[in-house]
């Protein structure tokens, strides 16, 4: 077993009461924003506020009770943070619904319900995250299958130039969102086994330990997969996300920065070539460099988003007082522009801090986790979350070229929302395991059932 950060004798408190209190605050954000949207747009509190607020409360309470029952030591901050983000996202989508006369918010609420059900299900079905290590290769295959699905002729659907969707009947689904979770499991399972081989062998060039040529196999494969996604699916964001995730996990597993140097060089050279060869990538870069070159054509979306952010200023126009519907896809990729316009820099900062908290809490779980697999999964999930935030928010605020990714928990989109709720469930499970008192230390007085030694198939590490 890997190094263990838990101090002997120190016992983490459960902090479920704190979680409940934070959840009430999160509900205030969600329901309050929903009421404010009604007041701002129609001048009256929405008629279904009780029903809506009740349903949201029910979901949150169900999640909380589940955590209390099956993961009592889990991190108390994660669930309230994502509940607040999800509630805010629903309110903003409802705001855009009112402007455009669409009905996406109720669909999103359905997806959130499914997300919470799967969140609870994951916690219940997965008493120990190390069970996931059994599915290292299965989930790897599943991930690749999911990534290939959109390219199949009947199932795959091209939306806005990116072929990352599959359609079954009335449902469309973005398999990449699930794939990123499966890939984290795969990478963690693989790396935790092969980390020594990858870490120890190699030669030193200057002050960097570069890996052996033969160990480059997996990284080469991942590179090919990433570029494949970029080229075949025209999805710059997912490509960057998967490869970045792999590099971070490789680095954490091997503790060798050389991997990052090698991988980073490979990615950027690949991306540079892609920019040269593929017009859609070139377009994105051109829009990023000068969105105002064609403000009513290719640059329209980004220019409108920038105007929206500026229009919001420090404190925003107020819900219902701005014109966020001017930004195409404001309910999905560009939802932060809508938040920036109507709630201002203040709310954008708050949202970024909430995301930062999710990443921080996930990495904290990784630090205190007692097993290598858990550390790698938690780090991987934190990295995938941080990278996704950076890529999408950096894109809509013109920090980096725009790539199509959803904003976790805020954006409209079922696959993303459901996948993210499952990710949070796994993170809670890891932190629950990490914060749980070591069973064979001194006996605790409360609830002897909790103290039963659980039989877990130990993963070699």
């Amino acid at each position: 077993m890997a190094t263990n950060s838990a101090l002997m004798g120190f016992v983490h408190r459960r902090r479920r009461g704190a979680e409940l209190f934070l959840l009430i605050l999160a509900l205030l954000v969600g329901v309050g924003a929903y009421a404010a949207v009604g007041l701002g747009v129609d001048g009256e509190v929405p008629t279904n506020l009780i029903g809506y607020g009740g349903w949201l409360t029910l979901l949150v309470v169900a999640a909380h009770v589940a955590v209390r029952r099956v993961a009592p030591y889990a991190d108390p901050v994660l669930l309230p943070v994502v509940a607040a983000l999800n509630g805010l996202g629903l309110a903003i989508i409802h705001r855009l619904d009112l402007a455009r006369e669409t009905g996406l918010a109720s669909q999103q609420l359905t997806w959130m319900t499914l997300g919470v059900v799967l969140f609870i299900g994951t916690l219940v079905v997965l008493p120990d995250h190390r069970l996931l290590a059994r599915f290292t290769y299965t989930s790897g295959l599943a991930a690749i299958a999911l990534l290939i699905l959109p390219m199949l002729p009947v199932l795959g659907t091209e939306i806005n130039g990116a072929r990352i969707w599959i359609s079954v009947g009335p449902f469309s689904f973005q398999p990449g969102e699930i794939a990123k979770l499966l890939l984290v499991v795969t990478f963690a399972g693989y790396l935790v086994v092969h980390r020594d081989a990858l870490a120890l062998a190699g030669r030193r060039v200057l002050f960097l330990d570069l890996p052996r040529g033969r160990d480059l196999g997996p990284i080469l494969m991942m590179w090919v997969v990433s570029l494949g996604i970029l080229i075949l699916q025209r999805d710059l964001g997912s490509s960057l996300l998967f490869f970045g995730l792999f590099l971070v996990m490789l680095y954490v597993a091997t503790e060798r920065p050389g991997w990052i140097v090698v991988g980073g060089l490979m990615f950027f050279s690949g991306a540079a070539v892609a920019v040269k060869i593929f017009s859609h990538v070139q377009n994105r870069v051109d829009i990023w460099l000068d969105p105002f070159a064609d403000p009513s054509g290719s640059g329209y979306q980004l220019v409108q988003a920038l105007y929206g952010f500026a229009w919001g200023g420090l404190i925003g126009r107020g819900l219902g007082e701005g014109m966020p519907e001017r930004v195409p896809y404001a309910e999905s990729d560009f939802i932060l522009a809508a938040i920036g316009e109507e709630l201002g820099l203040t709310a954008v900062m708050a949202v970024l801090l909430l995301y930062g908290l999710v990443v921080e809490r996930a990495l904290r779980a990784a630090l205190i986790s007692r097993d290598g697999f858990g550390k790698l999964v938690a780090t991987g999930l934190a990295a995938v979350f941080a990278l996704q935030i950076f890529v999408v928010i950096g894109g809509v605020t013109r920090l980096i070229p725009l790539t199509g990714l959803t904003t976790p928990f805020l954006s409209y989109g079922g696959s993303s929302l459901v996948a993210n709720w499952v990710i949070i469930a796994i993170l809670l499970r890891i932190s629950d395991q990490a914060r749980r008192p070591v069973p064979d230390l001194n006996e605790q007085q409360d609830d002897p059932d909790e103290q039963q030694t659980q039989i877990v198939k130990v993963v070699p590490s």
Binding site: L314, L363, A386, I389, G394
Partner: protein, 503 residues
């Protein structure tokens, strides 16, 4: 593995810091730049959904914002319709014309003079309301001008009327015909709006044109007033002198019948020498052609420029066509442009009675007579009398501004006498008003196109000794009517003057 996890944490922290720094830059430092970008449709839409101030004439609004239940909240309504359309212009999302455009800052509430009111509105939680603009227009004069012009030129006619208060430069009437209904152009319904615009824009009679300031034509005989002013001002002749005339005159240095200047049959011009007032009364082309040549092109141009030719002066409304007295002539020989040269005598002679390359807007001719009426002092014409808050508190009143002394008071007195005689005993008699001394001059300008009716002009002011109003009437088209002398323009000018004087 904790060491790299910590490194990853720090890396993630930098990612978030970069995002925060960038979004702060965007929403704080760059916000002003984006929020004032004219291409930013949010700015236009926000201004469009605000309660704009009134455009007032007297106590009546000729443009106001009415609350409506659509995304823009307020609809701009123009109760004045065709009567005031050339002045008010119209408001559309992201664009305006007329006073709506020139006074946009006040009307939309963005003017710095409204800052305190904006602050109070903000504190009271009221929505920001635009300020009002009170125009100088005299509703009676405006209506009289429009009705008289429309009835005179007929439904297919075209023309314009401008009336100025000579002592101040206040524009009392500004009418252009045909006009349009701005309400349709300000409609929030895109189809209505675009259809209305396409129809108006495609109309050959150009109803969207404000002919009073945007159409410049040969001023014809009304320009003789300027020639006379130049002659008197430069000491070439006095109003009491006799001036050379004649039935015809072959312009110096020319040959052929097309260069023979005649008087279109006015026999009073036939003697070789006639009195200055007879020349004015009979509108003798030969007399003013000879006078212009004697004064010379440079002096004539200087006089025209003192009256406002070759310059812009109207600040309250745009775009304004610049009236022209040619500075030089550029000949083209075998498609090669020659060096510019001064006007030759033949050209100067024709300029002397408002032909050749002299072109004037109706407003310019109104200013010429207005300066004479004001004893030589040319006032800047203006349309905006007051800027008010939404609650009608006066923020600023326009002070009359003397542009320059176009002629001396003595010259003005002499010209007034000549023009009064022209109304009393001459071609301008249709403008005579019982019991009021009226000064006036007719004009009939050849278009230079064979077989087409001439333009009709009429300029006048009254009372001659203490002028309250100066008028210029321009008739561009009056199908089926004889455009000559004062028959058409005179009664229109008279109606406007009476409307102002009867107040």
């Amino acid at each position: 593995m904790n060491k790299p996890i910590r490194a990853v944490s720090i890396f993630c922290m930098f990612l978030f810091l970069a995002l925060m720094a960038n979004v702060t830059f965007l929403q704080f430092w760059r916000a002003d730049e984006y929020n004032t970008d004219p291409k930013n449709s949010r700015v236009a839409a926000a201004a469009f959904s605000r309660e704009r101030g009134l455009i007032l004439v007297g106590e009546d609004p000729i443009a106001r914002s009415e609350p409506v239940d659509d995304q823009y909240k307020y609809l701009r309504v123009y109760p004045g319709k065709q009567l005031y359309a050339p002045v008010t212009g119209y408001l559309q999302l992201g664009s305006q014309t007329g006073i709506e455009r020139s006074q946009n800052e006040v009307l939309s509430g963005e003017d710095p003079r409204l800052f305190v009111n904006r602050l109070v509105d903000l504190l009271k939680g009221d929505t920001n309301q635009g300020g009002n603009v009170l125009l100088t227009l005299d509703p009676a004069a405006q209506r009289a001008a429009y009705t008289a012009l429309r009835d005179t030129v007929g439904p297919e006619g075209e023309g314009a009327v401008v009336a100025i208060e000579p002592k101040t430069g206040r524009i009392l009437a500004m009418v252009s015909f045909p006009s349009y209904d701005p309400n349709k152009l300000a409609s929030h319904d895109r189809e209505t709006r675009e259809k209305a615009y396409d129809t108006l824009d495609g109309n050959k009679r150009q109803p969207l044109l404000n002919r009073a300031i945007q159409t410049r034509l040969f001023p014809g005989s009304t320009f003789k007033v300027v020639t006379a002013a130049a002659a008197i001002e430069n000491g070439v002749y006095d109003a009491d002198d006799d001036v050379p005339a004649g039935a015809t005159w072959q312009a110096p240095g020319t040959s052929g019948s097309q260069n023979v200047i005649d008087n279109e049959g006015r026999a009073g011009c036939n003697p070789a020498k006639i009195s200055f007032s007879a020349a004015m009364e009979n509108s003798c082309n030969t007399a003013f052609a000879k006078m212009a040549v004697e004064v010379g092109p440079e002096k004539l141009r200087e006089q025209a420029e003192k009256f406002g030719f070759n310059s812009d002066y109207l600040l309250d409304l745009g775009p304004q066509a610049r009236s022209v007295f040619p500075e030089e002539v550029v000949d083209t020989i075998d498609d090669v442009q020659q060096d510019p040269r001064e006007l030759n005598d033949a050209e100067t002679a024709r300029s002397g009675f408002g032909q050749f390359s002299v072109q004037s807007t109706p407003l310019q001719m109104a200013m010429v007579v207005s300066a004479i009426a004001n004893r030589g002092a040319l006032m800047r014409p203006y349309l905006v009398d007051e800027v008010q808050t939404a609650t009608f508190d006066v923020l600023e009143t326009t002070e009359p501004e003397t542009l320059r002394d176009a002629i001396s008071p003595q010259t003005a007195d002499q010209l007034t006498d000549l023009l009064v005689a022209t109304v009393d005993d001459g071609t301008a008699s249709p403008a005579a008003i019982d019991g009021v001394s009226v000064a006036g001059k007719t004009g009939t300008a050849q278009r230079g196109v064979e077989g087409k009716a001439p333009y009709g002009w009429f300029v006048s002011f009254a009372p001659a000794d203490d002028a309250q109003v100066a008028v210029a009437v321009m008739i561009q088209e009056a199908p089926g009517k004889e455009i000559a002398g004062g028959q058409l323009g005179g009664p229109i000018a008279k109606a406007v003057m009476e409307a102002v004087l009867n107040k």
